[in-house]
């Protein structure tokens, strides 16, 4: 167990066509026992950062510390880490047992019997005792994944590093392993750095998530913080599926409204007072919009935006409605089945409190939705109160 401190980490690759800055001045502190998830699109630098922590890449600038120890220039084997790779990287010529024992054999003074005991113990925990005599080729993807995890866990390292470990599994298995991994990490209480491009994994697994883009840190925070209080337009658009809708608007300070060629949305004075620029981007989460076909009956008709239905996607529990608002596409997730037909005119209502506003030029967030970001779990006490 160990606290990981990354200070002004920079990694530059030299290529014939010039140098590429994969990670740019990243500073981050990962708490002891924390499950932190690096998320971002391909090429955002998340894997490179992980590989720098592992010692598989040399660092161009900056330092990495485990606890109080500077490991920046240490070799991987000196760092007391274990890593799970996307394609597992199991040793094909060794049995599952030997795969798991290899790290202990290389890095500890344990006797063969002690190693054997620890492998057995871990295998039991992972439910793979039956597979120990098999070589990776004889195992299914899910089983290989378990062996790869077992190989990391048996080492009892200070830090776990996981590079998209669930990407090669099918959807059902991935969901199952997701919860299992969280449970394992919780039980083992080992600092874990987890890299993924999948925002569902990021949202569900991490204690905190680190959003990266183009090698630069965008935001660090709890999943809900990043979701509801995105630091900028990139984070807002990256987290959430379907993604947040963005519409370019201008702040009309005199009218106290946001104006768009097709609509004008009046806002409270308190919000308008905080706006300094006039070029803005308005953001709406699909689940925060609602639709009506009877604008006159709506309590706030001045806040309705007229739109045309282009496509509806009934998912069963919810329906994704794709709208055309003055040539721009807007998605709304509405509950149940709406019975809307393509081409129908509807009115979109956006509650002011749920609206996000970003600076059009820099993308920096100006206003967030008011969704609570503290843990919304029903406390034990209130649950008892309800049943009583």
């Amino acid at each position: 167990m160990s606290r990981v401190t990354i200070d002004e980490l920079t990694k530059v690759y030299d290529s014939p066509s010039g140098s590429i800055e994969a990670v740019d001045d990243l500073t981050l502190a990962i708490d002891d026992g924390e499950f932190i998830v690096f998320v971002g699109p391909s090429g955002c630098g998340k894997s490179t950062t992980l590989r720098c922590i592992a010692g598989l890449e040399t660092v161009t600038d900056g330092t990495i510390e485990f606890g109080a120890e500077d490991v920046t220039d240490q070799k991987p084997k000196e760092r007391d880490i274990a890593m799970v790779f996307q394609n597992y990287a199991l040793y094909p010529h060794m049995t599952a047992r030997k795969n798991m024992a290899f790290g202990l054999k290389m890095s500890t003074d344990l006797s063969e019997d002690e190693i054997e005991d620890r492998v057995e113990e871990t295998a039991q925990m992972m439910g793979i005792e039956e597979l120990l005599a098999d070589k990776p080729k004889a195992l299914s993807g899910g089983q290989q994944q378990r062996v790869a995890l077992g190989r990391a866990i048996v080492r009892d390292p200070a830090v776990f590093l996981m590079d998209e470990p669930l990407s090669n599994l099918d959807a059902k298995l991935r969901a199952q392993m997701r919860t299992e991994l969280q449970q394992l990490q919780h039980d083992l209480d080992v600092t874990t750095v987890y890299v993924t491009h999948d925002q569902t994994e990021a949202m569900t697994m991490g204690d905190r998530i680190v959003v990266l883009n183009d090698g630069e840190l965008q935001q660090v925070g709890t999943p809900l913080e990043c979701y509801h209080r995105p630091a900028n337009r990139f984070v807002a658009g990256f987290l959430g599926s379907p993604p947040m809708n963005f519409l370019p608007v201008e702040a009309d300070l005199d009218a106290g409204a946001l104006s768009h060629p097709r609509f004008s949305l009046s806002l409270s004075d308190s919000i308008m007072a905080d706006l300094d620029g006039t070029e803005l981007v308005m953001g709406i989460r699909p689940e925060h919009g609602s639709l009506t076909t009877t604008p006159d009956a709506h309590p706030e008709p001045e806040r309705l935006v007229e739109a045309t239905v282009t496509v509806t996607e009934p998912m069963g529990d919810v329906t994704n409605v794709y709208l055309d608002v003055g040539g721009e596409s807007v998605t709304v997730t509405a509950g149940g089945h709406l019975g809307l037909t393509d081409g129908e005119s509807v009115w979109l209502y956006v509650p002011e409190a749920k609206l996000h506003l970003f600076d059009a030029e820099t993308g920096t967030a100006i206003k967030h939705s008011d969704e609570p970001i503290e843990s919304t779990r029903v406390s034990e006490a209130s649950r008892y109160a309800e049943t009583a």
Partner: protein, 328 residues
């Protein structure tokens, strides 16, 4: 392009083998087509391998000697008399033949070990990233690409006892105090191993290099995180992963060296010292200088049988059991 290939395809398809081989009709169209494409190659094999082998076995049971050179088919049928004679260690010929078999084993095993060590070292070096890697690869391939007669003649000159550069070099460096006889006497077999290995190691290198390139980089990353150093990575990852390629290399080098004629013949000439008389050279000299074709053929068949037996044992034990070990 497509038109030409379809025309070729249909004209191949029109060959009617089924008329002569009824069983052939039971094969699927695709298999029939495959056999037709194999046909020219198979005919070639028949002509240059199979017929001479059968012919050699036939002659080995006939008393073909100087009296029957032009009418070998009139030679008397002698059953296994030729084999009895060449394998009898009490005769001079038999004794020398057994000795030549021993030298052949030294030649093949020695060459195998040396080419493997040299080839693996070179392959590992080439697999590193450094400037001039491509030039190095071309340079290392030269001994194998250059015509072997030329290479061997140069080695022969260099190994001359009086005028050769190797002796004068070793003398001037003080490694030896007197010129060594490299090409006569008991050392000859080792000189032969050395020179033949020189001509053959680039092939081993290229095969192992191809094997090295197919080992996934992530295995080394996983191993380095698991705490394996350079030597351990070689011992536990590289070497086991090279097993399938190594298996092929070992088999080929053993068999090819056993029946190699060029290296001993060019290096040692028509009058080789006894130590350099590997079986193939001994058989050639014995059969063609004494016109003892029947007995020569018997020796050839013995050599052939030994090579086949070794190949089969090798397949049976190594390929069956361990081949999947390094399988990816």
């Amino acid at each position: 392009m497509t038109r030409t290939s379809s025309r070729v395809r249909s004209s191949v398809a029109e060959i009617e083998i089924g008329r002569y081989l009824p069983l052939y009709n039971r094969l699927s169209d695709e298999q029939q087509y495959a056999y037709k494409l194999l046909l020219p190659g198979l005919l070639m094999m028949l002509l240059i391998h199979f017929i001479p082998i059968v012919w050699g076995v036939l002659i080995s049971v006939l008393g073909v000697d100087s009296g029957y050179v032009s009418q070998w088919y009139e030679a008397p049928f002698v059953w296994l008399e030729n084999y009895r004679f060449v394998l009898d260690p009490r005769t001079v010929v038999g004794e020398r033949f057994w000795y030549s078999l021993r030298q052949t084993i030294i030649f093949s095993v020695g060459t195998l070990l040396l080419t493997y060590v040299l080839g693996l070292t070179a392959a590992l070096l080439l697999n590193q990233r450094f400037k001039g890697r491509f030039a190095a690869r071309t340079l290392l391939l030269l001994p194998w690409v250059a015509p072997s007669v030329v290479t061997l003649l140069i080695w022969r000159m260099m190994f001359q006892q009086q005028s050769g550069i190797i002796n004068s070099l070793l003398l001037s460096l003080g490694v030896i105090s007197e010129p060594i006889y490299w090409l006569i006497g008991d050392n000859t077999i080792w000189t032969l191993v050395l020179v033949h290995s020189w001509t053959q190691f680039p092939l081993v290198m290229i095969m192992l290099y191809a094997g090295l390139q197919s080992i996934p980089e992530q295995l080394y990353e996983a191993a380095s995180i698991d705490g394996a150093g350079r030597w351990e990575q070689f011992r536990y990852i590289t070497f086991p992963q090279l097993k399938p390629v190594s298996a092929v290399v070992v088999l080929l080098m053993m068999l090819w060296t056993m029946i190699n004629f060029t290296s001993p013949y060019i290096l040692l000439g028509a009058q080789p010292p006894q130590s350099g008389q590997v079986s193939i050279l001994y058989i050639y000299n014995f059969a063609f200088s004494n016109y003892q074709f029947g007995r020569g053929a018997a020796m050839s068949v013995v050599l052939f049988a030994i090579a086949m037996a070794m190949a089969m044992l090798y397949y049976k034990y190594l390929f069956d059991q361990d081949f999947t070990e390094g399988d990816r």
